[in-house]
């Protein structure tokens, strides 16, 4: 499996560390309450098919990527830098 890093080009999966669903990007406010934090940290849509998740290019550019891929076929549609996302306040 190769992931197309926007900075480094297509790289072997072994260069990356997987974190999890891109739900992790939508961090609730500290006082959002138990349910919102439970949802953020633990509960997942966990789709069988297309998904977006977070990969760290540890052995490359050391950037976090949001990867668009398929959990059934392992096909990868694309990847974007988490740092470069539009409308991301953080």
């Amino acid at each position: 499996m190769r992931i197309p890093c926007p900075l480094c080009g297509p790289r072997d999966r072994r260069e990356f560390t997987y974190y999890g669903s891109d739900d992790y990007l939508n961090r609730p406010s500290p006082d959002a309450g138990e349910a919102a934090w439970d949802d953020h940290l633990h509960l997942r849509a966990n789709p069988a098919g297309e998904t977006h998740d977070l990969w760290y290019h540890e052995a490359g550019c050391a950037q976090w990527l949001r990867v668009h891929r398929n959990t059934v076929s392992h096909e990868i549609y694309g990847a974007e830098l988490v740092a470069g996302r539009k409308g991301d306040a953080q």
Partner: protein, 420 residues
Amino acid sequence: MGRHMRYSGLKVFTEGLFGNKGWKPAWRTPAPKPEYDAIIIGGGGHGLSTAYYLAKNHGLRNIAVLEKGYLGGGNVGRNTTIVRANYFLPGNSEFYSHSLKLWENLESELNYNVMHSQRGQLILAHSDGQRDALARRGNAIVNQGDDAELWSLDQVRDFAPYLDYEQTRFPIYGGLMQWRAGTARHDAVAWGYARGADRFGVDLIQNCEVTGIDIQNGRVTGVQTTRGPIKAKKVGMVVAGRSSQVAAMAGMRLPIESHVLQAFVTEGLKPVIDSVISFGMGHFYISQSDKGGLVFGGDLDFYASYAARGNLPMLEHVMEAAMTLMPMIGRAKILRGWGGIMDMTPDGSPIIDKTPVEGLFVDAGWNYGGFKATPASGWCMAHLMATGESHEVARRFRLDRFRTGHVIDEEGTGSQHNLH
């Protein structure tokens, strides 16, 4: 019960004399009825054992098991068949202890040969710290009422002389042996429970995929299926590997991420590995099947996946671990590799609980541990569905324990789905 055939050595003998013409199908193939008292979604090991114990222990008779494919076609047919009860934490400890006791009586209970073989499991230690941890774990196992022996290096060497004791990177310091652990014939466990449930009148309905869960005023009223709607006031979701998809039909998000776990088998060899052996410095465990194949597995591929096959990096890791532990394995040829889809929870422990929907129950999140849990999972899920109360040994397997902080993190690796 007159139409049911009891299996025995005498029966095998007499059937052999008369051309084996007297064998009958082990279960019926009924059409779904419009309504049942209880529906189990999922005809795998846990779903079938749930149906069996609902009938056997709680007297329910009007039960259906709905399976989208064929019985036992999921993870119960894709595991490495290991049965053990060597957990440490309260919650897991009493549950797996209960499960092992059920295993020990399973064949006479079901009148079915599940080839349960208590050949022992040896976990290896490769440092002083690891040996201390095994001593602590062993004491916990003895305290829960099960068996464990802390072995010295010499004892390990006598038992398994083929391990690589000379290599400097991961020297072997000793091990923890549980003699009552072992293996079982995985498909036979599903078939045995299926036949047992059928004898109590449970309808096992295959090629019947659930496409919707009907809920009115917060209560479950039935399911929609590819073979029409079926009503029921109690529905159990027992579909590890697809838990998130089925729960989504009830509007729920579960604390589960699906990962693929690979396993491999070599060509058949003469008897060489007596027990289950677990490497302590990499995720690698091995046993020898009764056909002679060396069956072994490794760790997750570490990223969410529903592909029932793995990728090469983890295959490479497993082969490296195998060669590190027992160099002789390099002479064997790998026949097959496959993957199973694991329901990974944020603490590595399972869920047997009610849901926010009245009458809808969930049995999920079995991580790598589902096969050995098959009897107790069904036992406890049946208890929950019949009585509305958690069984004593499964009361910590709560759906909301991540929110409340009552996690059961056996490996102590933290609250992330792929770290367990």
